[in-house]
Symmetry: C2
Subunit: 331 residues, 2 copies
């Protein structure tokens, strides 16, 4: 606003009057202010909102686990976009509980957020329809909305997992385990689908005991890994892990063992490259996920119409050593 | 409330009447409900608040960097306590900017949070006095409040750093560098004080070029580390790092070098034990910090009076290899 005022050669109060269509401004001054606004790309809607309501605009971000480092860069990217728009970001965690998600989303709406970014825990978001109809812009990230059509920004979980498993197959593996998150989570099933398709592409059968979906609690993951690694019949020679929480536990399990086992994990994580061996990962760009979702949200808040966008970001395979270990039973 | 109703053998409405001191309950029923409440440790004030206001109680947590993994377990611990009290947690980040902290705190107050947990970025919190006088309970975590007396829960930064530097001295080091966060941050200066006292305790002089405070951006930390490691005169043989963001960058710098340099870092971090060498740290218990602060906040919300509490939690030195490397110029 200061820049607009300086460029138009008027005071802040005059800019505010023009923005709010208040009386007391000559047509010539109004024109100059509007030209300055256009020239500076000043976001009229946001600022008008702030001025009208007499409070700072805010957006809410509901994610699923505050302690999962995957969400750190996503969170920060959303915050940077919000700040660039002069808006505050307030967050909350569903702890992967659909009821908690709904409670939190509605509580943020009741506290008059202007928009919402939701990493959904549940699979039915019809409860949000009245809020969206009342003007609360909403973008879903990481996973699609359930039973409503809404803006979604997510990574290509299926394609990423398929490429990661194909990488292990290309290094000679035939018996590959998959340890993933709960089957009701969209990304978990998409990554499992990528695993199955990659195995089928290579003409490899999958034994039921090679697949373990469940919570990411270390005890569960550790037990699942040991079961498939120590099976008396057809133990796996490689493991594909469905997210970074699973990967760090499997890294610990493999560090304790003599026989080298190959590993590719979905999600990059801090220090993955400094471990020995470095951990090969299918990296998704958490910051770009957050930034894209936040840009989309603010374009909706600025009045952009049109059908819901479904943005899918590519993943990237980063080879660091663990995914290039050959099968221990190879020739 | 369901448990209270079941134990007292009455309906939910009756429990609500007793809690809210509404008419229509016989003295005998009232006594049974109150006994059930006492027996179950039911938090009368919280529930009364929720029932009275017809909305869910909520607390706000303002931290300084959403992408710093140190805050993950703290955040989750606060959330678990909030949930146990039937309250929602909403978060925001100051991004280490005092103005942003104030804006966010006041925005949360305007959105009617019942209490606040603040990891302060600023050093003047008099702006919070009207809110606190109006009943918004506030607990500061990790760093003390500035210019007001308030509840504080923090780790012993001074003692922890002193012990960590003494550990390096005990392993033969005489030239030890200190790379820390910005000097306006309380924990940064407390840890630097611990470094100076440990050096003085051992009768060791500190060259000015061995101390580098500043931002935790990797480029800044990398340059600071290289400067003190490559000094033509009196290069350091060991480094003490002031927090986990600094440590992970210094680990990368040291991994590229031939000459082994000892390292002790303040803050534990995920995978520190799996690096080679394992990283010796002064661990603070982030989950206990969060839990203690949240318990204190809810006791205030439940009406606990008394002078502000100043809780200081002990740190713990965890030796894993990097801090036990002898000086490369040792006899």
């Amino acid at each position: 606003m200061k820049d607009v005022a300086a460029r138009a050669g008027v005071g802040l109060k005059t800019v505010s009057r023009v923005v709010n269509a208040e009386p007391g401004v000559t047509p010539d001054t109004e024109r100059r202010v509007k030209e300055a606004i256009d020239a500076l790309g000043f976001r009229r809607n946001d600022s008008a909102r702030v001025l009208r309501k007499g409070r700072t605009a805010s957006i809410g971000l509901v994610l699923e686990d505050l302690a999962d480092p995957f969400y750190g860069p996503l969170n920060r990217a959303v915050e940077e976009v919000a700040r660039a728009h002069g808006a505050l970001l307030i967050n909350g965690s569903s702890a992967e509980d659909p009821d908690r998600e709904q409670e939190l989303v509605l509580a943020l709406c009741a506290r008059r957020v202007d928009g919402l970014i939701v990493i959904p825990a549940g699979d039915d978001h019809r409860y949000l329809e009245p809020e969206m109809a009342a003007g609360v812009a909403t973008v879903f990230v990481d996973r699609p909305a359930g039973r409503i059509d809404a803006d979604v920004v997510r990574s290509d979980s299926f394609g990423g997992a398929r490429a990661g498993v194909a990488h292990l197959i290309a290094h000679g593996h035939r018996r590959i385990g998959f340890i993933g998150d709960q089957p009701r989570i969209h990304t978990a099933t998409e990554r499992l689908r990528g695993y199955h398709v990659a195995m089928a592409d290579a003409g490899l059968a999958v034994a039921p005991e090679w697949v373990a979906l469940g919570s990411t609690r270390p005890e569960r993951v550790r037990a699942a890994a040991r079961t498939m690694l120590d099976a008396p019949h057809e133990p796996v020679t490689a493991v594909f892990t469905g997210n970074n929480r699973v990967t760090v536990t499997v890294v610990r399990v493999l560090a304790e063992r003599e026989r080298p086992v190959a590993l590719v994990g979905f999600d990059d994580f801090e220090l993955a490259d400094l471990l020995v061996p470095g951990v090969t990962v299918v990296a998704q760009d958490a910051a770009t996920l957050g930034r894209t979702a936040a840009d989309l949200l603010f374009s909706r808040l600025d009045g952009a119409g049109g059908a819901p966008s479904h943005v899918v970001l590519e993943t990237r395979l980063v080879a660091r050593g663990s995914g290039e270990i050959p099968p221990w039973d190879a020739g």
